[in-house]
Protein backbone atom coordinates (compact mmCIF):
# COMPACT_ATOMS: atom_id res chain seq x y z
CA UNK A 1 0.00 0.00 0.00
CA UNK A 2 1.45 3.35 -0.98
CA UNK A 3 -1.39 5.59 0.20
CA UNK A 4 -2.12 5.47 3.90
CA UNK A 5 -5.59 6.95 3.45
CA UNK A 6 -8.23 6.35 0.87
CA UNK A 7 -8.82 9.69 -0.86
CA UNK A 8 -12.22 10.70 -2.12
CA UNK A 9 -12.81 12.14 -5.57
CA UNK A 10 -15.39 14.59 -6.88
CA UNK A 11 -17.80 13.78 -9.74
CA UNK A 12 -15.47 15.78 -12.04
CA UNK A 13 -12.44 13.58 -11.34
CA UNK A 14 -12.43 11.85 -14.75
CA UNK A 15 -12.56 15.23 -16.49
CA UNK A 16 -9.62 16.47 -14.43
CA UNK A 17 -7.64 13.43 -15.54
CA UNK A 18 -8.63 14.11 -19.16
CA UNK A 19 -7.52 17.71 -18.75
CA UNK A 20 -4.17 16.47 -17.36
CA UNK A 21 -4.57 18.15 -13.99
CA UNK A 22 -1.77 17.91 -11.47
CA UNK A 23 -3.63 16.32 -8.56
CA UNK A 24 -2.95 16.52 -4.86
CA UNK A 25 -4.64 15.66 -1.58
CA UNK A 26 -6.75 18.40 -0.04
CA UNK A 27 -9.29 17.93 2.75
CA UNK A 28 -9.49 14.20 2.14
CA UNK A 29 -10.10 14.62 -1.61
CA UNK A 30 -7.85 14.16 -4.61
CA UNK A 31 -8.14 17.62 -6.19
CA UNK A 32 -6.57 19.51 -9.10
CA UNK A 33 -3.65 21.66 -7.92
CA UNK A 34 -3.17 23.14 -11.37
CA UNK A 35 -3.74 22.19 -15.00
CA UNK A 36 -1.05 22.23 -17.73
CA UNK A 37 -1.61 26.01 -18.05
CA UNK A 38 0.05 26.40 -14.64
CA UNK A 39 -0.97 28.15 -11.42
CA UNK A 40 0.32 31.55 -12.54
CA UNK A 41 -1.73 31.66 -15.75
CA UNK A 42 -4.76 30.42 -13.80
CA UNK A 43 -4.37 33.12 -11.13
CA UNK A 44 -4.04 35.85 -13.78
CA UNK A 45 -6.96 34.49 -15.84
CA UNK A 46 -9.36 34.94 -12.91
CA UNK A 47 -8.34 38.56 -12.49
CA UNK A 48 -8.30 39.48 -16.18
CA UNK A 49 -10.92 37.14 -17.68
CA UNK A 50 -12.35 34.08 -15.89
CA UNK A 51 -11.45 30.74 -14.34
CA UNK A 52 -13.43 27.58 -13.58
CA UNK A 53 -12.91 25.68 -10.32
CA UNK A 54 -14.19 22.31 -9.16
CA UNK A 55 -15.20 22.96 -5.55
CA UNK A 56 -17.36 19.88 -5.11
CA UNK A 57 -15.21 18.93 -2.11
CA UNK A 58 -16.97 21.64 -0.08
CA UNK A 59 -19.61 20.27 2.30
CA UNK A 60 -23.24 21.31 1.96
CA UNK A 61 -25.75 21.03 4.80
CA UNK A 62 -29.39 22.06 5.01
CA UNK A 63 -31.27 23.06 8.13
CA UNK A 64 -35.04 22.91 7.94
CA UNK A 65 -38.03 23.20 10.19
CA UNK A 66 -39.21 25.29 13.13
CA UNK A 67 -36.19 26.25 15.17
CA UNK A 68 -33.70 26.32 12.28
CA UNK A 69 -33.38 30.09 12.66
CA UNK A 70 -32.97 29.82 16.43
CA UNK A 71 -30.32 27.14 16.01
CA UNK A 72 -28.28 29.39 13.72
CA UNK A 73 -28.74 32.33 16.09
CA UNK A 74 -27.34 30.17 18.86
CA UNK A 75 -24.43 28.66 16.92
CA UNK A 76 -23.46 31.00 14.07
CA UNK A 77 -21.30 34.07 14.77
CA UNK A 78 -23.48 36.45 12.73
CA UNK A 79 -26.64 37.97 14.18
CA UNK A 80 -29.21 36.89 11.60
CA UNK A 81 -31.53 39.67 12.79
CA UNK A 82 -28.88 42.32 12.06
CA UNK A 83 -26.56 41.38 9.23
CA UNK A 84 -27.71 42.92 5.93
CA UNK A 85 -27.14 46.50 4.88
CA UNK A 86 -25.82 49.65 6.54
CA UNK A 87 -28.36 49.74 9.36
CA UNK A 88 -28.15 46.04 9.57
CA UNK A 89 -31.45 44.31 8.95
CA UNK A 90 -32.33 40.61 9.09
CA UNK A 91 -31.13 37.96 6.68
CA UNK A 92 -33.83 37.30 4.09
CA UNK A 93 -34.58 34.69 1.43
CA UNK A 94 -32.04 34.62 -1.43
CA UNK A 95 -29.34 36.29 0.63
CA UNK A 96 -26.19 34.72 2.08
CA UNK A 97 -23.90 35.67 4.92
CA UNK A 98 -20.36 34.62 5.88
CA UNK A 99 -19.51 33.75 9.47
CA UNK A 100 -18.10 31.21 11.91
CA UNK A 101 -19.18 28.29 14.01
CA UNK A 102 -17.24 28.60 17.26
CA UNK A 103 -16.62 26.08 19.97
CA UNK A 104 -17.53 27.06 23.54
CA UNK A 105 -13.84 27.94 24.17
CA UNK A 106 -13.95 30.57 21.40
CA UNK A 107 -11.87 28.60 18.90
CA UNK A 108 -13.12 28.12 15.35
CA UNK A 109 -14.87 24.87 14.47
CA UNK A 110 -15.23 26.03 10.86
CA UNK A 111 -16.22 29.01 8.76
CA UNK A 112 -19.42 28.88 6.75
CA UNK A 113 -21.73 30.64 4.36
CA UNK A 114 -25.34 30.54 5.50
CA UNK A 115 -28.00 31.11 2.83
CA UNK A 116 -31.68 31.61 3.59
CA UNK A 117 -33.72 29.46 1.19
CA UNK A 118 -36.96 30.55 2.86
CA UNK A 119 -37.93 31.46 6.40
CA UNK A 120 -37.74 27.84 7.53
CA UNK A 121 -34.88 26.40 5.45
CA UNK A 122 -31.22 27.32 5.24
CA UNK A 123 -28.23 26.10 3.23
CA UNK A 124 -24.97 25.96 5.16
CA UNK A 125 -21.74 25.52 3.17
CA UNK A 126 -18.72 24.47 5.19
CA UNK A 127 -15.27 23.17 4.35
CA UNK A 128 -14.14 19.88 2.89
CA UNK A 129 -14.67 16.97 5.29
CA UNK A 130 -16.41 19.28 7.80
CA UNK A 131 -20.01 18.32 6.92
CA UNK A 132 -20.37 15.56 9.52
CA UNK A 133 -18.40 17.55 12.12
CA UNK A 134 -20.52 20.69 11.82
CA UNK A 135 -23.75 18.66 11.55
CA UNK A 136 -22.90 16.83 14.78
CA UNK A 137 -22.01 20.10 16.50
CA UNK A 138 -25.33 21.69 15.45
CA UNK A 139 -27.30 18.58 16.35
CA UNK A 140 -26.41 18.84 20.03
CA UNK A 141 -28.06 22.28 20.23
CA UNK A 142 -30.97 21.59 17.86
CA UNK A 143 -34.62 21.38 18.82
CA UNK A 144 -36.26 18.09 17.75
CA UNK A 145 -38.19 20.00 15.07
CA UNK A 146 -34.97 20.94 13.20
CA UNK A 147 -33.84 18.64 10.43
CA UNK A 148 -30.12 18.75 9.70
CA UNK A 149 -29.12 17.01 6.48
CA UNK A 150 -25.72 16.56 4.85
CA UNK A 151 -26.05 16.76 1.05
CA UNK A 152 -22.32 16.75 0.28
CA UNK A 153 -22.30 13.42 -1.53
CA UNK A 154 -25.16 14.25 -3.88
CA UNK A 155 -24.35 17.89 -4.60
CA UNK A 156 -21.56 19.13 -6.84
CA UNK A 157 -20.23 22.67 -6.96
CA UNK A 158 -18.48 24.63 -9.67
CA UNK A 159 -17.11 28.16 -9.22
CA UNK A 160 -16.99 30.47 -12.22
CA UNK A 161 -14.83 33.41 -11.19
CA UNK A 162 -13.58 36.50 -12.97
CA UNK A 163 -14.89 39.65 -14.64
CA UNK A 164 -16.11 37.71 -17.72
CA UNK A 165 -18.20 35.31 -15.58
CA UNK A 166 -21.62 36.88 -16.32
CA UNK A 167 -20.95 36.99 -20.07
CA UNK A 168 -19.96 33.32 -20.02
CA UNK A 169 -22.89 32.19 -17.90
CA UNK A 170 -25.55 34.19 -19.74
CA UNK A 171 -26.09 31.88 -22.75
CA UNK A 172 -26.48 28.87 -20.43
CA UNK A 173 -29.33 30.43 -18.46
CA UNK A 174 -32.95 29.97 -19.49
CA UNK A 175 -33.83 33.52 -18.43
CA UNK A 176 -30.67 35.55 -17.77
CA UNK A 177 -32.52 38.87 -17.53
CA UNK A 178 -34.60 37.88 -14.54
CA UNK A 179 -31.72 35.96 -12.90
CA UNK A 180 -29.20 38.80 -13.16
CA UNK A 181 -31.78 41.44 -12.22
CA UNK A 182 -31.89 40.19 -8.63
CA UNK A 183 -28.30 39.29 -7.91
CA UNK A 184 -26.33 41.64 -5.69
CA UNK A 185 -23.11 40.39 -4.08
CA UNK A 186 -23.81 37.47 -1.70
CA UNK A 187 -27.25 36.68 -3.06
CA UNK A 188 -28.48 33.60 -4.87
CA UNK A 189 -31.31 32.27 -6.98
CA UNK A 190 -32.68 28.75 -7.24
CA UNK A 191 -33.09 25.95 -4.77
CA UNK A 192 -31.98 22.33 -5.07
CA UNK A 193 -33.07 21.14 -1.64
CA UNK A 194 -36.10 19.17 -0.52
CA UNK A 195 -39.13 21.45 -0.37
CA UNK A 196 -37.94 23.80 -3.12
CA UNK A 197 -40.71 26.03 -4.43
CA UNK A 198 -38.79 28.34 -6.75
CA UNK A 199 -36.37 26.29 -8.84
CA UNK A 200 -33.89 27.78 -11.29
CA UNK A 201 -33.05 25.81 -14.40
CA UNK A 202 -30.43 26.23 -17.08
CA UNK A 203 -31.56 26.55 -20.71
CA UNK A 204 -31.09 22.77 -21.02
CA UNK A 205 -33.37 22.12 -18.03
CA UNK A 206 -30.67 21.37 -15.45
CA UNK A 207 -31.76 22.54 -11.98
CA UNK A 208 -29.27 24.56 -10.00
CA UNK A 209 -28.69 27.04 -7.20
CA UNK A 210 -26.63 29.97 -8.44
CA UNK A 211 -24.97 32.28 -5.97
CA UNK A 212 -23.00 35.47 -6.56
CA UNK A 213 -20.07 34.61 -4.41
CA UNK A 214 -16.74 32.84 -4.51
CA UNK A 215 -13.38 32.58 -2.80
CA UNK A 216 -11.15 34.58 -5.11
CA UNK A 217 -11.99 38.20 -4.38
CA UNK A 218 -13.12 38.52 -7.99
CA UNK A 219 -16.56 38.84 -9.58
CA UNK A 220 -18.28 35.53 -10.18
CA UNK A 221 -20.66 32.79 -9.29
CA UNK A 222 -20.86 29.49 -7.45
CA UNK A 223 -23.05 26.87 -9.13
CA UNK A 224 -24.56 24.18 -6.89
CA UNK A 225 -26.12 21.27 -8.75
CA UNK A 226 -26.62 17.51 -8.59
CA UNK A 227 -23.25 15.76 -8.66
CA UNK A 228 -24.36 13.91 -11.79
CA UNK A 229 -24.91 17.26 -13.56
CA UNK A 230 -21.43 18.67 -12.88
CA UNK A 231 -19.82 17.08 -15.95
CA UNK A 232 -22.04 18.63 -18.58
CA UNK A 233 -22.17 21.99 -16.79
CA UNK A 234 -18.36 22.02 -16.60
CA UNK A 235 -18.06 21.24 -20.31
CA UNK A 236 -20.76 23.74 -21.31
CA UNK A 237 -19.10 26.52 -19.33
CA UNK A 238 -15.65 25.79 -20.77
CA UNK A 239 -17.17 25.88 -24.25
CA UNK A 240 -19.13 29.09 -23.63
CA UNK A 241 -16.08 30.63 -21.99
CA UNK A 242 -13.53 29.76 -24.65
CA UNK A 243 -14.00 33.04 -26.58
CA UNK A 244 -13.44 34.93 -23.31
CA UNK A 245 -10.30 33.05 -22.37
CA UNK A 246 -11.89 30.96 -19.60
CA UNK A 247 -9.57 28.21 -18.32
CA UNK A 248 -9.88 25.48 -15.70
CA UNK A 249 -8.11 26.41 -12.47
CA UNK A 250 -6.79 24.37 -9.57
CA UNK A 251 -6.48 24.82 -5.84
CA UNK A 252 -3.08 26.54 -6.07
CA UNK A 253 -4.62 29.50 -7.90
CA UNK A 254 -7.63 29.42 -5.57
CA UNK A 255 -5.25 29.70 -2.61
CA UNK A 256 -3.15 32.56 -4.02
CA UNK A 257 -6.27 34.44 -5.17
CA UNK A 258 -8.04 34.17 -1.82
CA UNK A 259 -4.91 35.20 0.04
CA UNK A 260 -4.51 38.32 -2.11
CA UNK A 261 -8.16 39.04 -1.39
CA UNK A 262 -7.52 38.82 2.41
CA UNK A 263 -9.84 35.82 2.81
CA UNK A 264 -8.91 33.29 5.52
CA UNK A 265 -8.48 29.57 4.99
CA UNK A 266 -10.29 27.69 7.75
CA UNK A 267 -8.02 25.45 9.89
CA UNK A 268 -5.01 27.46 8.73
CA UNK A 269 -5.65 31.20 9.25
CA UNK A 270 -8.47 30.65 11.73
CA UNK A 271 -8.80 27.44 13.65
CA UNK A 272 -8.21 25.61 16.84
CA UNK A 273 -7.25 28.70 18.85
CA UNK A 274 -9.34 31.49 20.30
CA UNK A 275 -10.70 33.81 17.62
CA UNK A 276 -10.08 37.52 18.06
CA UNK A 277 -8.02 40.50 16.84
CA UNK A 278 -8.17 39.42 13.21
CA UNK A 279 -8.90 41.19 9.90
CA UNK A 280 -12.22 39.32 10.01
CA UNK A 281 -13.86 40.89 13.06
CA UNK A 282 -16.88 41.68 10.83
CA UNK A 283 -17.99 38.07 11.39
CA UNK A 284 -18.82 38.94 15.00
CA UNK A 285 -22.16 40.52 15.98
CA UNK A 286 -20.53 43.65 17.37
CA UNK A 287 -22.77 46.34 18.79
CA UNK A 288 -22.89 49.85 17.32
CA UNK A 289 -20.08 50.99 19.64
CA UNK A 290 -17.88 48.16 18.32
CA UNK A 291 -17.98 46.46 21.71
CA UNK A 292 -20.31 43.89 23.14
CA UNK A 293 -22.35 41.48 21.07
CA UNK A 294 -25.91 42.02 19.87
CA UNK A 295 -26.82 38.42 20.72
CA UNK A 296 -25.53 35.54 22.82
CA UNK A 297 -24.02 32.63 20.85
CA UNK A 298 -21.78 29.61 21.41
CA UNK A 299 -18.24 30.87 22.02
CA UNK A 300 -19.27 34.47 22.75
CA UNK A 301 -18.43 34.33 26.43
CA UNK A 302 -14.92 33.08 25.76
CA UNK A 303 -14.39 35.82 23.14
CA UNK A 304 -15.45 38.55 25.59
CA UNK A 305 -12.39 37.67 27.69
CA UNK A 306 -10.14 38.64 24.76
CA UNK A 307 -7.58 36.70 22.77
CA UNK A 308 -3.81 36.81 23.29
CA UNK A 309 -3.26 36.60 19.53
CA UNK A 310 -3.25 39.23 16.83
CA UNK A 311 -3.67 38.09 13.22
CA UNK A 312 -2.59 40.37 10.37
CA UNK A 313 -2.34 40.27 6.62
CA UNK A 314 1.01 41.06 5.08
CA UNK A 315 2.69 41.66 1.73
CA UNK A 316 6.37 41.40 0.93
CA UNK A 317 8.51 43.40 -1.47
CA UNK A 318 9.22 40.66 -4.03
CA UNK A 319 7.94 37.11 -4.71
CA UNK A 320 10.17 35.47 -2.09
CA UNK A 321 8.28 33.41 0.49
CA UNK A 322 8.93 31.80 3.83
CA UNK A 323 6.61 28.79 3.93
CA UNK A 324 4.46 28.26 7.01
CA UNK A 325 6.13 25.27 8.68
CA UNK A 326 6.91 24.33 12.27
CA UNK A 327 10.46 25.58 11.56
CA UNK A 328 9.48 29.08 10.45
CA UNK A 329 8.55 32.03 12.65
CA UNK A 330 7.84 35.75 12.77
CA UNK A 331 10.53 37.98 14.29
CA UNK A 332 11.02 41.62 15.12
CA UNK A 333 13.94 43.38 13.45
CA UNK A 334 15.89 42.64 16.64
CA UNK A 335 15.37 38.93 16.16
CA UNK A 336 12.77 38.37 18.87
CA UNK A 337 10.30 35.62 18.00
CA UNK A 338 6.78 37.07 18.18
CA UNK A 339 4.62 34.52 16.40
CA UNK A 340 3.94 32.14 13.56
CA UNK A 341 3.24 32.27 9.85
CA UNK A 342 -0.28 31.06 9.01
CA UNK A 343 -0.24 31.43 5.22
CA UNK A 344 2.54 32.53 2.87
CA UNK A 345 2.00 32.41 -0.87
CA UNK A 346 2.66 34.57 -3.93
CA UNK A 347 0.00 36.76 -5.54
CA UNK A 348 1.27 36.77 -9.11
CA UNK A 349 -0.89 39.71 -10.22
CA UNK A 350 0.67 42.37 -8.02
CA UNK A 351 3.96 44.16 -7.52
CA UNK A 352 5.33 47.22 -5.80
CA UNK A 353 5.42 50.52 -7.67
CA UNK A 354 7.39 52.63 -5.26
CA UNK A 355 5.90 51.66 -1.91
CA UNK A 356 2.39 51.09 -3.29
CA UNK A 357 1.02 47.68 -4.21
CA UNK A 358 -0.39 47.72 -7.75
CA UNK A 359 -2.37 45.00 -9.56
CA UNK A 360 -2.74 44.14 -13.21
CA UNK A 361 -6.37 45.23 -12.63
CA UNK A 362 -5.37 48.69 -11.39
CA UNK A 363 -6.14 51.43 -13.90
CA UNK A 364 -3.33 53.54 -15.34
CA UNK A 365 -4.89 56.62 -13.73
CA UNK A 366 -4.68 54.86 -10.36
CA UNK A 367 -0.98 54.15 -10.74
CA UNK A 368 -0.46 51.12 -12.94
CA UNK A 369 2.56 51.72 -15.22
CA UNK A 370 1.84 51.40 -18.97
CA UNK A 371 3.77 48.16 -19.50
CA UNK A 372 3.26 46.63 -16.08
CA UNK A 373 4.68 43.13 -15.75
CA UNK A 374 4.41 42.19 -12.08
CA UNK A 375 6.86 39.68 -10.66
CA UNK A 376 4.40 38.87 -7.90
CA UNK A 377 4.55 39.59 -4.17
CA UNK A 378 4.66 37.20 -1.27
CA UNK A 379 1.64 37.66 0.95
CA UNK A 380 -0.37 35.90 3.61
CA UNK A 381 -1.26 36.00 7.27
CA UNK A 382 0.72 35.95 10.51
CA UNK A 383 -0.40 35.42 14.09
CA UNK A 384 1.69 37.35 16.58
CA UNK A 385 1.64 38.16 20.28
CA UNK A 386 1.39 41.95 19.96
CA UNK A 387 -0.32 44.82 18.21
CA UNK A 388 1.22 46.07 14.98
CA UNK A 389 0.03 48.93 12.83
CA UNK A 390 -0.54 48.79 9.10
CA UNK A 391 2.67 49.81 7.35
CA UNK A 392 4.98 48.44 10.04
CA UNK A 393 7.30 45.63 9.02
CA UNK A 394 8.31 42.32 10.57
CA UNK A 395 10.64 39.52 9.50
CA UNK A 396 9.58 36.04 8.39
CA UNK A 397 12.39 33.63 9.17
CA UNK A 398 13.19 30.00 8.35
CA UNK A 399 16.74 28.96 9.17
CA UNK A 400 19.10 31.19 7.17
CA UNK A 401 16.35 32.58 4.97
CA UNK A 402 14.58 35.72 6.04
CA UNK A 403 12.31 38.23 4.34
CA UNK A 404 10.87 41.55 5.44
CA UNK A 405 7.12 41.97 5.04
CA UNK A 406 4.72 44.83 5.61
CA UNK A 407 1.59 44.51 7.79
CA UNK A 408 -1.36 45.41 5.56
CA UNK A 409 -5.15 45.54 5.78
CA UNK A 410 -5.46 45.00 2.01
CA UNK A 411 -3.20 42.97 -0.26
CA UNK A 412 -4.36 42.86 -3.91
CA UNK A 413 -6.07 46.14 -4.84
CA UNK A 414 -8.85 46.71 -7.38
CA UNK A 415 -10.66 43.43 -6.92
CA UNK A 416 -13.93 42.90 -8.78
CA UNK A 417 -16.01 40.75 -6.38
CA UNK A 418 -18.44 43.53 -5.49
CA UNK A 419 -18.78 45.12 -8.94
CA UNK A 420 -22.38 45.39 -10.19
CA UNK A 421 -23.49 42.74 -12.69
CA UNK A 422 -24.73 45.50 -14.98
CA UNK A 423 -21.14 46.75 -15.39
CA UNK A 424 -19.84 43.32 -16.33
CA UNK A 425 -22.44 41.90 -18.73
Amino acid sequence: MTEARCLRTTPLYDLHIQQQANLAEFGGYKMPLWYPTGAKAEHLAVIERAGLFDTSHMAVLSLAGDGAFDLLQQCFSRDLNRCLGKEPGPLKPHRSIYGLFLKPDGSVLDDAIVSELDGRRYMVVVNSAMGPVVAKHLQQFAAPSVQIMDHTDRIGKIDLQGPAAAKILEPLLADPESVFAEMPYFSFVGDIFPGAVRPLVLADGTPLLLSRSGYTGEFGFELFCAGSDTGHIWRSLLQAGAPYGLIACGLAARDSLRTGAMLPLSHQDIGDWKFGNTPWSFVLPLGPDGRGFTKPFIGAEALQAGSPYHTYGFAGYDPRKIPATPASEVQTKDGECIGTILTCTTDMAIDRVGTAVVSIATSVSQGRPQHFQPRGLSCGFIRINRVHKTGETVLLVAGKRKIEVEIRNQIRPDRTARRAITELR
Binding site: N22, K321, T346, G376
Partner: protein
Protein backbone atom coordinates in the same frame (compact mmCIF):
# COMPACT_ATOMS: atom_id res chain seq x y z
CA UNK B 1 1.71 16.07 -13.74
CA UNK B 2 3.75 14.34 -16.42
CA UNK B 3 3.92 10.57 -16.48
CA UNK B 4 7.46 9.22 -16.25
CA UNK B 5 7.43 8.27 -19.94
CA UNK B 6 6.40 11.82 -20.87
CA UNK B 7 9.49 13.38 -19.28
CA UNK B 8 12.12 14.90 -21.52
CA UNK B 9 15.47 13.53 -20.32
CA UNK B 10 18.33 14.20 -22.76
CA UNK B 11 20.87 11.37 -22.98
CA UNK B 12 23.99 13.53 -23.37
CA UNK B 13 23.93 15.04 -19.87
CA UNK B 14 24.06 13.67 -16.33
CA UNK B 15 21.62 13.84 -13.42
CA UNK B 16 21.73 13.95 -9.62
CA UNK B 17 19.52 12.22 -7.08
CA UNK B 18 18.22 15.71 -6.17
CA UNK B 19 16.98 16.24 -9.76
CA UNK B 20 19.64 18.63 -10.99
CA UNK B 21 21.34 18.05 -14.32
CA UNK B 22 25.00 18.68 -15.20
CA UNK B 23 26.48 19.25 -18.66
CA UNK B 24 30.24 19.36 -19.20
CA UNK B 25 31.72 22.05 -21.43
CA UNK B 26 35.58 21.78 -21.55
CA UNK B 27 36.70 22.62 -17.99
CA UNK B 28 33.36 23.97 -16.72
CA UNK B 29 29.99 22.35 -16.05
CA UNK B 30 26.55 23.94 -16.43
CA UNK B 31 23.92 23.02 -13.84
CA UNK B 32 20.14 23.14 -14.12
CA UNK B 33 17.08 21.19 -12.94
CA UNK B 34 15.45 18.27 -14.72
CA UNK B 35 12.12 18.22 -16.50
CA UNK B 36 10.84 16.08 -13.61
CA UNK B 37 11.85 18.75 -11.07
CA UNK B 38 10.26 21.64 -12.96
CA UNK B 39 7.08 19.63 -13.50
CA UNK B 40 6.85 18.81 -9.79
CA UNK B 41 7.48 22.41 -8.73
CA UNK B 42 4.98 23.98 -11.10
CA UNK B 43 5.32 27.62 -12.15
CA UNK B 44 8.64 28.96 -10.91
CA UNK B 45 8.23 32.55 -9.79
CA UNK B 46 11.60 33.38 -8.25
CA UNK B 47 15.17 32.13 -8.49
CA UNK B 48 17.71 32.97 -5.80
CA UNK B 49 21.18 32.69 -7.34
CA UNK B 50 24.59 32.52 -5.65
CA UNK B 51 27.40 35.07 -6.10
CA UNK B 52 29.95 34.45 -8.84
CA UNK B 53 33.15 33.32 -7.12
CA UNK B 54 31.37 31.49 -4.31
CA UNK B 55 32.48 27.90 -3.72
CA UNK B 56 30.34 24.99 -2.63
CA UNK B 57 30.86 21.41 -1.55
CA UNK B 58 29.27 18.56 -3.43
CA UNK B 59 25.61 18.33 -2.37
CA UNK B 60 25.61 21.76 -0.78
CA UNK B 61 22.64 24.12 -1.23
CA UNK B 62 23.58 26.89 -3.68
CA UNK B 63 20.26 28.62 -4.21
CA UNK B 64 16.49 28.35 -4.08
CA UNK B 65 13.69 28.03 -6.58
CA UNK B 66 10.27 29.29 -5.58
CA UNK B 67 7.06 28.15 -7.15
CA UNK B 68 3.70 29.70 -6.34
CA UNK B 69 3.27 27.07 -3.63
CA UNK B 70 6.69 26.14 -2.37
CA UNK B 71 10.32 27.05 -1.80
CA UNK B 72 12.83 24.42 -2.91
CA UNK B 73 16.54 24.35 -2.25
CA UNK B 74 18.82 23.49 -5.17
CA UNK B 75 21.98 21.50 -4.50
CA UNK B 76 25.26 21.49 -6.39
CA UNK B 77 25.87 17.98 -7.73
CA UNK B 78 29.64 18.59 -7.91
CA UNK B 79 31.97 20.62 -5.68
CA UNK B 80 33.30 23.76 -7.30
CA UNK B 81 33.38 27.51 -7.83
CA UNK B 82 30.54 29.47 -9.42
CA UNK B 83 31.98 31.06 -12.58
CA UNK B 84 28.69 32.35 -14.01
CA UNK B 85 25.02 32.61 -13.10
CA UNK B 86 22.14 32.80 -15.57
CA UNK B 87 20.98 36.34 -14.82
CA UNK B 88 18.13 36.04 -17.32
CA UNK B 89 16.29 33.91 -14.75
CA UNK B 90 16.07 36.82 -12.32
CA UNK B 91 13.61 38.60 -14.61
CA UNK B 92 12.13 35.51 -16.25
CA UNK B 93 12.19 32.55 -13.83
CA UNK B 94 9.48 30.86 -15.92
CA UNK B 95 12.16 30.09 -18.54
CA UNK B 96 13.07 27.06 -16.42
CA UNK B 97 9.53 25.67 -16.85
CA UNK B 98 9.57 26.42 -20.57
CA UNK B 99 12.91 24.74 -21.26
CA UNK B 100 14.67 23.28 -18.22
CA UNK B 101 17.70 22.19 -20.27
CA UNK B 102 18.13 25.29 -22.44
CA UNK B 103 18.04 27.41 -19.30
CA UNK B 104 20.96 26.51 -17.05
CA UNK B 105 21.09 28.04 -13.57
CA UNK B 106 24.81 28.24 -12.75
CA UNK B 107 28.10 27.39 -14.43
CA UNK B 108 30.81 25.98 -12.17
CA UNK B 109 34.49 25.16 -12.37
CA UNK B 110 34.54 21.79 -10.58
CA UNK B 111 37.28 21.12 -8.06
CA UNK B 112 37.19 17.43 -8.98
CA UNK B 113 36.01 16.54 -12.48
CA UNK B 114 35.86 12.86 -11.50
CA UNK B 115 32.61 13.69 -9.70
CA UNK B 116 31.03 14.27 -13.11
CA UNK B 117 31.42 10.63 -14.06
CA UNK B 118 29.86 9.55 -10.77
CA UNK B 119 26.55 11.27 -11.62
CA UNK B 120 23.54 9.37 -12.96
CA UNK B 121 23.16 8.61 -16.63
CA UNK B 122 19.74 9.15 -18.25
CA UNK B 123 19.01 5.44 -17.75
CA UNK B 124 20.09 5.45 -14.09
CA UNK B 125 18.05 8.58 -13.40
CA UNK B 126 15.00 7.11 -15.11
CA UNK B 127 15.36 3.95 -13.01
CA UNK B 128 15.47 6.08 -9.88
CA UNK B 129 12.32 7.98 -10.89
CA UNK B 130 10.50 4.75 -11.56
CA UNK B 131 11.43 3.73 -8.01
Amino acid sequence: MKEIDELHLPGDIYYSTEHEWAAKDADTVKIGISDYAQDQLGDIVFVELPEVGATFEQGEEFGTLESVKAVSEIYLPMAGEIVAVNGELEDAPELINEDPYGNWIVEIRPSDMDQYDELLSREDYLEMLKG
